[in-house]
Assembly symmetry: C2
Homo-oligomer: 502 residues x 2
């Protein structure tokens, strides 16, 4: 894999000077076109061996581009805010918006490779494999969300790397760049080479291939980095307008499941007649609220976080239920996020970005009043998302929730279900109470007409995203009191299970 | 000041129940109106003594409001990212956008009061006075930027506070809420009372008055908090449409300085004929770039930060100059921010918010290619900002830069000046070079017609915002090489002065 990059590619100064002028013009045009179309974001990954010329090559690249629209991101130790979120959070927060280019020096490849070579032997290979698998899935999602990934690897042969490190170290102006750690790693050159090769091989996909750059010659590597970016941008600009733009509408509401043989679904089998009498409600509500309050002060919660998702039929009582949860806990630990139309900054990012930015730090919780599931509910049913997009969303959401839970975030998801009759009753009641009128809109009535399509989407959602780490809890909500207590009890039980009995 | 709040105000349960229903309706309507108009953001400050019922009262308030559009912010130890920014950064990052309500439990009053009572004696009174002065200025800016400040102070007499702390401590469910620190502070009740009174007195302004709430009765304090918010929102909604909306246009370009007696200005006195020969340029550029590179690796820079502002005539060479700076430093420590139209999230915030969010952490630098000075340049000249707004901007900008520099950020500001003739020459040249055509637009030609108005605005800007902590550097830029070297030399000299000679 690295053979070509050890051939000692070279470009002489005259050729370089000539190519530079022409490159600059082409890069600027490509960048202007990118900014004009605003349909793609470009993420350039710059990885490879120490002293391979990554920094200088990126410096040259940014000097040829219009630097105002290029962000260069460092690999650095995570800040404490970053450590209190799932590992990918720090990359999500610096993803480029559409129309822009971001360069990532350190990125999601750095740690897995270092850990594989230098980490504790036990289990490190399995962890490495899992990282590569997750990276592949993550990058596939980025590609589908119109992030163009340009992945470059700067390579040096062992001999050349040693020479470069020695040269850098002996020059007063550059000696600071060579650390003990660099030499320590150089000693394990062969291992790093083998592991890097595996990483590159496993993560070179059609959407996001790697380009290996021979780092031995300054002129050569600068030109190749720039050409790599250019050809990726050119290919993307010339790609045929997506076929999916034309055909998706008709099949928008198609179920993910086979045609039903009987009429049973997870929704029809709910017993919506369950109720809770006032006296029992008051007592149980108070009990579970007190237990929930105690659990959120549990010492073990200090390095965990809680994400609660509320979805449900319109008028199923999400607001009232959320209030029973929030009134139990310290408001200072809590954020309630109501999902409405995305802002323009959110629209310029992959779909999940707007949820990542709201995730809780340690010892905190976020309640999502509607959530990322909008993609496979309203966006699917109303045709706001195209079919390939909502179809891939199930897997992306599972990956997302898996990452959160693996980092220690507890994810609890509620679907509040009411019957069609009960919804009608509540709509009418809302229209009659002055201070509830704002809660009922034409849109609610329109959605109601699509009751069956929504039910279908809910069944698909539960089937495909109710996972062991983040199961769906269906809540029979025809009786509000029953629903509220079930939600609180579920939260208490999940927290107790996760934290150990309080 | 606290007399009324020690009268033992009380509300019985029946009255409370009745008022609650009515309050809820009014709060919801006010909130809906706020969200609909999206012209004001509401920040509710909740301060006061421990055990004064702040938490419960806010919980009641949020349960009456539509909690989805209310953010509750905790006072907490700052994270390391927050510590690496000026103190107000942590509040800027959670300011509510227009149309929303945010509640700040801990806020900019907390630390000054605690420091004044518990801090080291020496100089603490001067620091306290300075904090109050700065808070007043900050809040005046927020008010002018359509942030409605609702400031509440929960008070308890010494006797009642002692009783409440003892009660909370003896109940198993609430004992966690009383810490040793609370008792330690209780011992200094009188001092806290005196200092708080001074803070309240000094910062009660017409725009943002304090409301002191008797915290001794649960029902009473809940109702008063809600009524305080409601009446502030009501008053704001009923305020007459600002007079300034009608009259400002005609005076938009009025100078801030008296009619000139002679024709000298800071701009006319620049010697734009200064040039630098190629050989000297190459040598000096290399020298200063190397020195700049070393300075950014200086150990003392690790707890400093650098902000560089570039303003200048169109075609004055900002881009090329910025490139000479960025090519000297580690790109990973650097962000270049090009100021264009604000996003919708930025439009929903006070003017300076979009710049606060781009400020560098420790050991980092941000280059602003155009900046907050747009307010007093293009926005003033083109009439995008109303006269009262750009007039107050000078003081707000000085406050902003003072806060940055006091935190250790080095602020360097460049105005790149070219002559009108030189600009014409460059515009024409740009139109002829293919890859520079994107740099010249109709807008540039339009701006050029307002040359004198811009010159006037620049002179006002320099006069009013060139301060000892953040002086303007006027750069004679008819000769690009001369300008670049002057910029680099200035940066090197400023950094050397700030960090001690490298």
């Amino acid at each position: 894999m690295f053979e070509d990059a050890e051939l000692g590619h070279k470009v002489d100064k005259a050729t370089f000077a000539k190519r530079e002028v022409e490159l600059r013009e082409r890069l600027l045009s490509a960048q202007i076109e990118l900014a004009r179309r605003k349909d793609v974001a470009v993420a350039v990954l710059v990885n490879g061996v120490e002293a391979g010329g990554k920094g200088e090559s990126v410096a040259a690249l940014t000097s040829w581009l219009d630097a105002r629209f290029v962000a260069v991101n460092a690999y650095d130790d995570p800040t404490d805010e970053e450590r209190e979120h799932a590992p990918m959070w720090r990359y999500w927060r610096i993803l480029p918006p559409k129309g822009r280019i971001a360069i990532f020096f350190g990125n999601w490849y750095t740690q897995p490779i270092v850990d594989r070579v230098l980490g504790k032997a036990k289990g490190r290979d399995a962890a490495f494999e899992r990282s590569l698998e997750e990276i592949t899935r993550f990058e596939r999602m980025l590609a589908a969300e119109n992030v163009l990934l340009v992945k470059t690897w700067f390579h040096l042969s062992r001999k050349v790397q040693k020479k470069r490190l020695t040269e850098l170290e002996s020059d007063a102006d550059t000696s600071w760049r060579v650390t003990k750690e660099d030499w320590r790693r150089f000693k394990r050159y062969d291992e790093f080479r083998a592991i890097s090769e595996r990483a590159l091989r496993r993560t070179s996909t059609g959407d996001a291939p790697w380009t290996i750059i021979d780092g031995s010659d300054e002129q050569y590597r600068k030109l190749v980095l720039a050409e790599t970016l250019l050809s990726a941008m050119k290919a993307r600009a010339e790609a045929p307008a997506e076929r999916r733009d034309v055909e998706h509408k008709a099949v928008q509401r198609r179920s993910m499941r086979p045609a039903p043989v009987d009429s049973k679904t997870v929704l029809t089998e709910l017993d919506l007649t369950q109720t809770l009498r006032d006296a029992r409600y008051d007592k149980q509500l108070a009990t579970y609220q007190a237990r929930l309050a105690r659990l959120t002060r549990h010492p073990k919660f200090r390095d965990r976080a809680l994400v609660i998702v509320f979805e449900g039929n319109d008028a199923a009582g999400k607001g009232g239920t959320i209030r029973r949860v929030t009134s139990a806990v310290d408001l200072r630990l809590l954020r309630v996020v109501s999902i409405a139309a995305p802002s323009d900054e959110e629209k310029a990012q992959p779909y999940l970005w707007r949820f990542w930015r709201q995730l809780p730090r340690h010892a905190r919780m976020t309640i999502f009043d509607r959530s990322w599931y909008g993609r496979v509910l309203v966006e699917r049913v109303e045709g706001f998302a195209q079919e390939p997009d909502w179809r891939r969303a199930y897997g992306e959401i599972n990956d997302f929730e898996l990452e959160l839970t693996r980092h220690g975030t507890i994810v609890v998801k509620f679907w509040l279900a009411i019957s069609k009759q009960e919804q009608l009753k509540r709509f009418k009641a809302r229209e009659e109470i002055a201070f509830k009128q704002f809660k009922i809109t034409d849109e609610d009535w329109r959605n109601r007409k699509k009751w069956d399509a929504y039910a279908d989407a809910v069944c698909d959602m539960v089937e495909r995203t109710s996972t062991a780490v983040a199961p769906w809890v269906l809540v029979e909500a025809n009786d509000k009191k029953f629903a509220r207590v079930k939600v609180l009890r579920t939260l208490v039980e999940r927290l107790e299970a996760e934290l150990g009995h309080a």
